[in-house]
């Protein structure tokens, strides 16, 4: 074992045990697997249990324990997403632009909103502006952003504990792929959003967690941070004021966390990304048990605009802002696009997406990725709005919109979704883990022609159990695709039954 080489890797992270996963990423890179003696050595050197590193090594797809020259096998859905989702498609000509407003604009990085905050606003002013804007977390379950800030500010006040502001760009959920492009195109707005939040909640430290494989984005972000530091926008006593804040980049292996934020915090501490089970919110006890505001890339992008335009004005853009969505599947224009919230699914698919290719007809749309529900044609007028979509039986999540034409079988669609969730499930809690395995096997059984009518009730009941009892968001929403397809496309199921 070349200890000098390994020591170098360890030292490059200041021997910080929190960075264990990053060290393993480097080791994987170097040796094309995680050699046992190296892992043992690192465990002893940085004083973390060997079992923790072993668990990490067996948990993430990016690691292998045996040497292999081949590229790691890609999951079918990931390959599919990469191919379909890596390009930006134009929105309507008059559509408002928030997230992509600075794309290709050399003026980016002026931090005018932050300066306005620093010069003229109190932390409470900032929070109330965000509250007025009606901004909802962009890639999760759409919780009000201002609520998080308020709770965090209160926790800091009550405890005088240090707070953390964190940006999630490690999310591996299909659809979050667009975040790579966002980071690459406008890293300064993310930093600015986080700065404003730090000012409002009283945080001194920020972390941007980026997927290791987004090397371009990491580079760009690192440059932007350096740039901001040079301009005294990050660091001690920013702009000569009694406010200090700095940000560091932490690379992540990328995991489908489905926005289980506590899971992400685990991975930031060198552990497998598995949700901890607690009803105490992260705003009180988050990263290192300290008050934490954790949001995705897209949410942060909105913050400077809210300050710039004012909360009331922001609220009037669409239904409180825009959403970046990824259009994939049987659609003419696939790729990602920023649209105002409130736009109907019909507009989205037919005006922006260009409709269904090759003269086939629209059959269904699945909103929210594999955890989302599938809607039939008569629901196409549902607006893309957090509350409306939830009412309709789905989530917006990170904005993956998959279209199915009439050659598709919705049992297969549901099966694909569940297959993905089954392989990505954390594995900790029984309903999440067993439920997805059982659902998949029942669906497979049906699609092989061995199903029976009662299976539908069984499926429904399992989905209900999972929705009520699961630990993770992934488990809770796993049933959406099945419940919605049984509801709207029951014929696809009964077609398989023999009698």
């Amino acid at each position: 074992m070349d200890t000098a080489k390994i020591n170098k890797i360890i030292e490059s992270y200041n021997r910080d045990a929190d960075c264990a996963i990053e060290m393993l990423l480097d080791i994987q890179d170097e040796f094309k697997h995680l050699p046992e003696d190296v892992v043992r050595y690192i465990a002893d050197e940085i004083e973390v249990p060997l079992g923790q590193l072993y668990f990490v090594g067996t948990f993430y797809d990016v690691f292998t324990l045996e040497p292999s020259e081949d590229e790691l096998p890609q999951k079918p859905i990931e390959a599919f997403m990469k191919q379909q989702n890596d390009k930006r498609i134009p929105s309507k000509p008059d559509a408002p632009s928030i997230v992509f407003r600075n794309m290709g604009n050399a003026d980016a990085g002026e931090y005018k909103s932050f300066e306005k905050v620093l010069e003229t606003m109190s932390p409470d002013d900032v929070i109330s502006e965000v509250e007025k804007s009606g901004l909802l977390g962009r890639c999760g379950f759409g919780n009000p952003t201002a609520d998080k800030w308020k709770a965090c500010a209160k926790a800091v006040n009550d405890s005088s504990n240090p707070a953390y502001v964190i940006c999630n760009a490690d999310e591996g959920i299909p659809g979050a792929f667009a975040y790579k492009n966002i980071v690459e195109s406008d890293p300064h707005s993310i930093i600015e959003g986080m700065l404003i939040c730090a000012y409002a909640v009283g945080a001194k430290e920020g972390i941007i967690h980026i997927r290791n494989c987004y090397s371009q984005a990491i580079e760009q972000m690192a440059e932007a941070i350096e740039d901001a530091r040079a301009k005294k926008l990050l660091g001690e006593n920013i702009k000569g004021k009694d406010f200090s804040f700095d940000i560091k980049i932490r690379r992540g292996p990328g995991a489908y966390m489905n926005l289980d934020l506590s899971a992400m915090l685990e991975s930031l501490q060198g552990k497998p990304a598995i949700p901890t089970a607690s009803n105490v919110p992260l705003t009180e006890k988050g990263y290192k048990d300290m008050p934490t505001v954790l949001s995705c890339v897209e949410t942060w992008m909105n913050v400077p605009v809210i300050i710039e335009k004012g909360g009331d004005a922001f609220k009037k853009i669409g239904n409180s802002g825009t959403k970046v969505v990824s259009l994939v599947g049987d659609i003419v224009n696939s790729g990602f696009v920023e649209v105002p919230l409130g736009i109907t699914l019909r507009e989205l698919i037919f005006d922006i997406g260009g409709g269904i290719p090759e003269g086939r007809e629209f059959k269904a749309v699945q909103v929210g990725g594999p955890s989302g529900g599938c809607f039939p044609a008569d629901m196409l007028d549902t607006p893309l709005d957090y509350a409306e979509i939830e009412k309709a039986g789905s989530i917006i999540g990170p904005g993956l919109i998959r279209v199915y034409d009439n050659s598709r079988c919705m049992v297969e669609a549901a099966k694909d979704s569940i297959e993905f969730l089954k392989s990505e499930c954390f594995g900790k809690a029984a309903p999440d883990r067993e439920g997805s395995v059982i659902l998949f096997s029942i669906l497979e059984n049906i699609s092989q022609g061995n199903g029976k009518k009662e299976d539908l009730d069984t499926l429904k009941s399992i989905c209900e159990t999972m929705s009520a009892a699961s630990l993770s968001g992934l488990g809770k929403s796993a049933g959406n695709s099945i419940l919605s397809t049984i509801k709207h496309f029951e014929d696809d199921y009964t077609g398989y039954f023999k009698n």
């Binding site: 060997l50 072993y54 948990f59 067993e434 159990t465 009892a469 630990l471």
Partner: protein, 660 residues
């Protein structure tokens, strides 16, 4: 306190209590597979779901990890909760149909045959159900983190790193003990105990007490014996400036919180005995030395324990924790006992301050109380065999002789303040107000240590042994009981540094009856020989008396050798008297029956001394009698006979003494 309702019954709970715990206190049972009362909630099995109404909203949620922070209404068996629970149990049953724990839960909750086939069905009776108890106890309880989960999703399994036996496993068996299915079994019993289960069950009982109660009791896991510093200081028992006083305003600078927060590494497995859940051995990492041959180096300090903190701290007037640790490190490195060193140095310092010795004797060292640099220097001298270090290194008994015979010191003063018995320096408790502990220190075989008996709290604070007979009983029972630990080679700390939650309700709480019984079980489990507390004492009594005879053969072991330096009994100087005047005056009035009003301090001090020395004599009479010894402290023949150690050589030794 927060008032909540569970199934419409009201209960007030402490904020942060879990729903599961609150329900349990009402006698309401909620099925819970992954939960275990000695472990932190984990939320994996999801069987413990209940319906919670809070702020007008209703949700189904797990109860084991739900902390109560506001008034809520809980329904453990609402239709929705029940259906969800059944759904979850059905999944378990489908995967592990033959595991008794799962079958029982299914039966109790009305789940029959699963409606589906589980593709990963495992028909073993001892299948692992992925509850994570083993992983958690190894981490939270034993701090070893050996056994771990591996894999993701359905691939998740319990494993050791790289899927093979991990040589660092302590083999403590805690994981097997908490496993609800028997998936982990202890197969290799290294020492071939006769009844391994008996030992394991008892061991785990203590482990579970450690994990759940230690934080509220002695904080052994966080700080070790150092937890005593502030307690001793509060009760005027912390030796200060060579045992003159029992407390000091600066004691807070070396109390347990300082060690816990600023010095000790936390959460590491025990360095003293692999797999021990008490983990009381604590260490300071990366400690930078200021003196001596390793000056400037960063080292690991093993400790300090309470005794070291007092000996190398308050007793020599040093309230700088750094120097306590420094002395600790060098004592360890040179192979010197920290207690003997500290106590001997405290004696030398008091002699220096009183002009008994001067710079001439110390080679220029300013040996005043609190001179921490000088303290280090003496220690280094000792290791090099140089200067005053050579004198101090010979211990108090030799120093006294030297000071009296060569330096012309006042015999009475030096004898009074030289804290040794049978040549062994006192350990670190002020015994002035505890007659029983004076006996505990000096009516010993080994000299002045608390390993044979530690009765201060029982005697002075809790007043549980008021009469001479009570005290004599205690000075019979405890030295015997504690000797037994040495006989069998077991650690004494799990006996009384952790107590069962209901110990106070027992007949003899100071003996910790449940734990005595536990030690008997260890013995019986290992050897197959039944043991109870009487037999245990009898075992030690043989050895203890034999040791006494051994002392006699070497010229020790009679009454005169059980003498106490007066500093351990009462105030030697007027300043000492006056510092606690109220207490001493009161005793003169109430116990001795004289009115101190018009007396000078000198007179009062002498009267008190007369009284206390007489008390000690009476105690000696009572103890010797109880131990079956003559009034000179020699084991009687009948005692030796009764114990079956009346071997000719033994009898020959004691026969030389009167009244045997």
């Amino acid at each position: 306190m927060i008032e909540i309702t569970i199934n419409k019954r009201k209960i007030s709970v402490e904020e942060g209590t879990t729903i599961l715990a609150a329900a349990e206190s009402l006698g309401i049972k909620i099925p819970a597979l992954c939960n275990h009362n000695i472990l932190k909630p984990y939320g994996a099995c999801r069987m413990c779901v209940v319906e919670v109404h809070a702020n007008g909203e209703k949700e189904i949620t797990t109860s084991c990890n739900y902390e109560i922070h506001e008034p809520i209404a809980v329904f453990t068996d609402s239709e929705e909760a029940l259906n969800t629970r059944r759904g979850v149990i059905e999944m378990h049953l489908a995967r592990w149909p033959n595991v008794p724990a799962i079958k029982a839960l299914a039966k109790a909750n009305g789940v029959d045959k699963p409606r589906y086939e589980h593709p990963l069905k495992n028909e073993s009776k001892n299948a692992c159900v992925l509850c994570g108890r083993c992983v958690r106890v190894c981490s939270e309880g034993i701090w070893e983190d050996i056994i771990t989960f591996a894999g993701r999703g359905a691939e998740r399994k319990v494993s050791m790193p790289f899927d093979k036996f991990y040589e660092r496993c302590a083999g403590c068996g805690a994981c097997a003990w908490v496993c609800p299915t028997g998936a982990i079994q202890v197969t290799n019993e290294a020492n071939h105990p006769v009844r391994p289960k008996m030992i394991r069950n008892w061991g785990m009982k203590v482990t579970s007490q450690m994990i759940t109660l230690d934080d509220q009791q002695c904080r052994m896991r966080k700080i070790g014996t150092g937890n005593l510093v502030e307690i001793m200081d509060d009760y005027d028992l912390l030796p200060t400036l060579n045992y003159q006083y029992g407390s000091h305003e600066n004691a807070k600078k070396i109390n347990s919180w300082v060690w816990q927060n600023e010095y000790f590494t936390q959460g590491l497995p025990d360095g003293c005995w692999y797999g021990c859940s008490m983990s009381c051995a604590h260490a300071i990492e990366k400690f930078e030395l200021k003196t001596g041959p390793y000056k400037g180096r960063k080292v690991l300090v093993d400790g300090p324990e309470y005794e070291t903190i007092a000996a190398c701290g308050s007793n020599i007037g040093n309230f700088d924790p750094h120097y306590v640790a420094e002395l600790n490190f060098y004592c360890d490195t040179y192979g010197i006992d920290t207690i003997s060193f500290g106590t001997a140095l405290a004696f030398a310092m008091e002699c220096y301050e009183n002009g008994v010795i001067t710079k001439e004797h110390t080679g220029g060292l300013e040996l005043t109380f609190g001179n921490k640099e000088a303290a280090c220097e003496v220690l280094h001298q000792m290791s090099r065999g140089e200067g005053f270090g050579m004198i101090l290194g010979k211990g108090i008994r030799n120093m006294k002789k030297l000071f009296i015979e060569e330096y012309g010191a006042d015999l009475d003063f030096v004898e009074d303040i030289g804290m040794e018995n049978k040549g062994l320096e006192f350990s670190e408790y002020v015994t002035k107000e505890s007659l029983a502990q004076q006996g505990g220190y000096c009516m010993t075989n080994k000299g002045a240590q608390h390993d044979e008996a530690w009765l201060i709290f029982m005697d002075q604070v809790n007043n549980q042994i008021p009469t001479f007979e009570n005290k004599a009983d205690a000075l019979h029972y405890f030295p015997m009981f504690r000797t037994w630990f040495g006989l069998v080679g077991l650690c004494k700390l799990p006996w009384n540094d952790i107590s069962p939650a209901d110990n106070a309700q027992t007949d003899e709480p100071h003996k910790i009856p449940e734990h005595v019984e536990g030690y008997c079980k260890y013995f019986t489990g290992m050897t197959g020989i039944e043991l109870d507390s009487d037999k245990l004492i009898r075992m030690s009594e043989k050895v203890y008396n034999f040791q006494r005879v051994f002392n006699l053969r070497l010229g020790y072991g009679t009454r005169e050798h059980d003498r106490v330096p007066y500093r351990a009994m009462g105030p030697v100087t007027n300043t000492e008297y006056e510092s606690r005047q109220e207490r001493y005056d009161k005793q003169l009035k109430e116990k001795v029956g004289i009115d101190p009003e018009s007396m000078s301090t000198d007179e009062k001090r002498l009267k008190l001394r007369e009284y206390r020395e007489d008390q000690y004599r009476q105690l000696q009479d009572a103890v010797y009698k109880r131990r079956g010894w003559t009034s000179d402290g020699v084991p009687k023949l009948e005692t030796l006979k009764k114990l079956g150690i009346d071997f000719p050589e033994v009898v020959e030794v004691v026969k030389r003494y009167p009244d045997v």
